[in-house]
Amino acid sequence: MNNTFPLLKARIGSQVIIDELKGGPGFYRRLIDMGLLPGTNIEIISGGTNGPIIIAKDGIRIGIGARMAAKIFVRPA
């Protein structure tokens, strides 16, 4: 799939699907704890464009640091 991009670059208000998590086991585990597995549908609430980002996953809001968001690859929903 060629239309994937890092979560970091997602626009506020857009909806994306997590495509791939490009990080080590610790990174993976933290995301799993938050229920952010590949295939999850999320919405960008605030931040982004190279800063930390707030996303919505169903009822909850999760803040993700910029370096982490750079390693989460998403595709448009």
């Binding site: 597995l37 605030s46 982490m68």
Partner: protein, 663 residues
């Protein structure tokens, strides 16, 4: 009968609110044995039964990643409780249910509370609770804990559930091959008396990499053979991921079956998100944060100071009354001095600040309860990185405005050891509430009507110094990368006033208790040292205390306060920062304010405040640092803080003098 009930759940699930609703003011704070994680427990009475409640640290799973989570896990699987109440955040079912089915699979007796049912309504969802109860073979209660909806019924249901003998048999069915291997493997497992879980779960956790029972060499060998069969079968080395994903998949299925969304996703824009778009905005985030903090301190003073003045007048009034009364009784002047100067002067001078301190805790409580505090970590992440700190370091730093000791403990939320120790090293630079009286006293004497501004400047100065020190320590000791940041942000909501008032009440009580014990004792010792040797003028240079102070005073001369009273106050401050003010109170008695006014100038007063801010944290803090990070770091903290405090106070004093003479 006495029963014990543990409350478990994700962080932010409303666990503490449930705990508060159950126990009210009947709660205690202690430590989990061996570690310094805060342990909250309490009790409530129902009929002739007493139900003891233990509030476990928040956890996402039974595969612990931090000490907090390990404590929660170990308590849940021990037989220490008669029932585990699992608090589920109903507006975030996926994460909560994953923890729940992990607990159910272990075969632990549980009662489930679906909290925040009001949020579910706002989200436009309906949850088919009956079906969930049937599938999972559990009882579910609905609550909106912060509005006290359903909490009375919970009290009764807990007792009913304890008395109903049930056997939890829930399990997720894995692939045939895995199930048969599990059956063979568990023959080699014996569960000890004090552990209340089934063998199957112990083995599942073993597959996930948790050796909970510390198996013997021999058992370990056998179990590893079975583990290999399963990992060969799944073509995977990371079995933990396999089982975690299975649990998630199971939960997803459950949710599909029982939850209906009435509103499409795009229509669910909450007020909370609107607020977040502004409050966490790239450009507005930090200015808004500074504004919020400013407003908090402004309120602490505009409301607190008149109340403090009232208490101060009260102590002055009572001093006069007692003095006249005792003089009338012909009691020797030494005893009168002991009571009036020693006790009332020492303890009174610190009790005066109770309103300011209570209001500060109220402010921190509001920030926490409203959901803003969690955002602070997020907003400050990038900024904190510049100085080598983690976004999550910020919450302990704000808590440090209350008291450094719990702040150091709360640094446990940082996953990386290096980030955690670095945070601990700079936490003493956050002005704790015990330093507030020093600022307020000096600011009100030398900078009237600008108190809030002066005090706020010291708070920010503390933050700035902490940042710079962090950067330096990061370069010297911790050259590793900072751990990535991911935090759950609870939705904004009206603060839960009951929780806040309970917390303010408990902390104010502690403060008064400290004033009545440690500070009283110190005041008595101070008074004795100030009155001896016999015949000496009270608190004069010739008294013992005067001699001790005079010994150190020359060192402080360059900083602008080279007199023995200041030296004594600072030495006492090492015991507890409140003692800086209270020992001045004991030394000067009723002439506290006028004496300070003659000894200090505005410049030396500010230098003294800088010194009080930076120099050595109190003994309790040092002890906590030793416990949490080791003695090496506590020694480093003592050394750097004393040297830095003196240097900064001196630089400030000397340059200010220089500037003053030039202009």
């Amino acid at each position: 009968m006495n029963y014990t009930v543990a409350i478990a759940g994700n962080p932010n699930s409303g666990k503490s609110t449930i705990f508060n609703a159950l126990t009210g003011l009947h709660q205690h704070i202690g430590n989990w044995s061996g570690v310094t994680v805060e342990k909250k427990y309490g009790e409530y009475k129902i009929g002739e039964h007493i139900i003891n409640i233990v509030d476990l640290p928040g956890t996402y799973s039974l595969n612990p990643k931090s000490i907090d989570e390990r404590i929660a896990r170990d308590f849940i699987i021990s037989k220490k409780s008669d029932l585990v109440v699992v608090v589920v955040n109903a507006s975030d079912l996926e994460k909560s249910l994953t923890l729940l089915i992990d607990i159910l699979e272990a075969g632990i007796k549980t009662l489930v509370v679906f909290n925040m049912m009001d949020m579910v309504k706002i989200q436009g969802k309906t949850i088919d609770i009956r079906t969930l109860e049937k599938i999972l073979n559990i009882r579910i209660l609905k609550t909106v804990a912060h509005k006290k909806i359903g909490t009375d019924r919970l009290k009764l249901s807990i007792l009913q559930e304890i008395k109903t003998p049930t056997q939890q048999r829930f399990k997720i069915q894995y692939k045939e091959r895995i199930e048969t291997t599990i059956k063979k493997a568990i023959k080699y497992i014996t569960v000890p008396e004090n552990i209340g879980v089934n063998k199957r779960w112990i083995f599942l956790k073993f597959l996930e990499g948790e050796n909970i029972l510390n198996f013997s060499e021999e058992t370990l060998k056998r179990l590893n053979e079975y583990k290999k069969i399963i990992s060969d079968f799944l073509h995977s080395q990371n079995l933990e991921l396999y089982f975690v994903e299975k649990r998630y998949a199971y939960v997803e299925g459950l949710i599909k079956e029982t939850v209906k969304n009435e509103l499409p996703l795009e229509k669910r824009i909450f007020i909370s998100d609107r607020i977040d778009r502004i409050v966490t905005n790239k450009f507005l985030g930090i200015p808004i944060f500074i504004l919020v903090m400013g407003a908090m301190f402004y309120l602490v003073f505009t409301i607190g100071t008149p109340l403090s003045n009232l208490i101060e007048s009260f102590f002055e009034w009572i001093s006069v009354i007692i003095k006249t009364f005792l003089t009338g009784l012909n009691i020797s002047s030494i005893i009168i001095s002991f009571i009036v100067d020693g006790i009332i002067g020492g303890v009174g001078s610190i009790i005066v600040f109770l309103p300011n301190i209570a209001l500060l805790f109220l402010g921190i409580g509001i920030l926490e309860s409203s959901g803003y505090m969690a955002r602070a970590a997020f907003i400050m992440d990038k900024f904190m990185h510049i100085f080598g700190l983690h976004g999550k370091s910020f919450i302990p730093m704000i808590m440090g405005f209350g008291c450094t000791v719990p702040a150091i403990m709360s640094a446990r939320t940082l996953d990386s050891e290096k980030d955690r120790i670095l945070t601990i090293l700079v936490l003493p630079l956050m002005s704790c509430s015990a330093r507030l009286p020093i600022y307020v006293l000096f600011a009100s004497i030398f900078f009237p009507h600008k108190e809030a501004f002066v005090v706020l400047s010291l708070y920010f100065l503390g933050i700035i110094i902490a940042m710079i020190v962090a950067r330096i320590f990061k370069n010297i000791f911790f050259k590793a990368k900072i751990a990535p940041l991911i935090v759950e942000l609870p939705p904004y909501r009206m603060p839960v006033w009951k929780d806040i008032f309970i917390s303010v009440w408990i902390k104010s009580k502690l403060f008064i208790k400290k004033a009545g014990t440690v500070i009283l004792l110190a005041a008595v010792i101070m008074w004795v040292l100030a009155s001896l040797p016999p015949g000496v003028e009270y608190a004069s240079r010739e008294s013992f205390i005067g001699k001790i102070g005079s010994f150190f005073a020359p060192v402080l001369k360059l900083s602008g306060f080279g007199f023995y009273e200041a030296a004594v106050a600072l030495i006492m401050g090492f015991m507890a920062k409140e003692l800086v003010v209270s020992s001045l109170g004991t030394l000067f008695g009723t002439t506290l304010r006028s004496s300070i006014q003659t000894l200090f100038t505005p410049i030396s007063a500010y230098a003294f405040m800088i010194m009080s801010l930076v120099y050595v944290p109190c003994i309790a803090t040092i002890a906590t640092i030793k416990q949490e990070a080791g003695w090496k770091w506590s020694v480093i903290v003592i050394l750097y803080s004393i040297i830095l405090g003196w240097i900064l106070a001196t630089i400030f004093y000397q340059t200010s003098l220089l500037i003053k003479t030039i202009f």
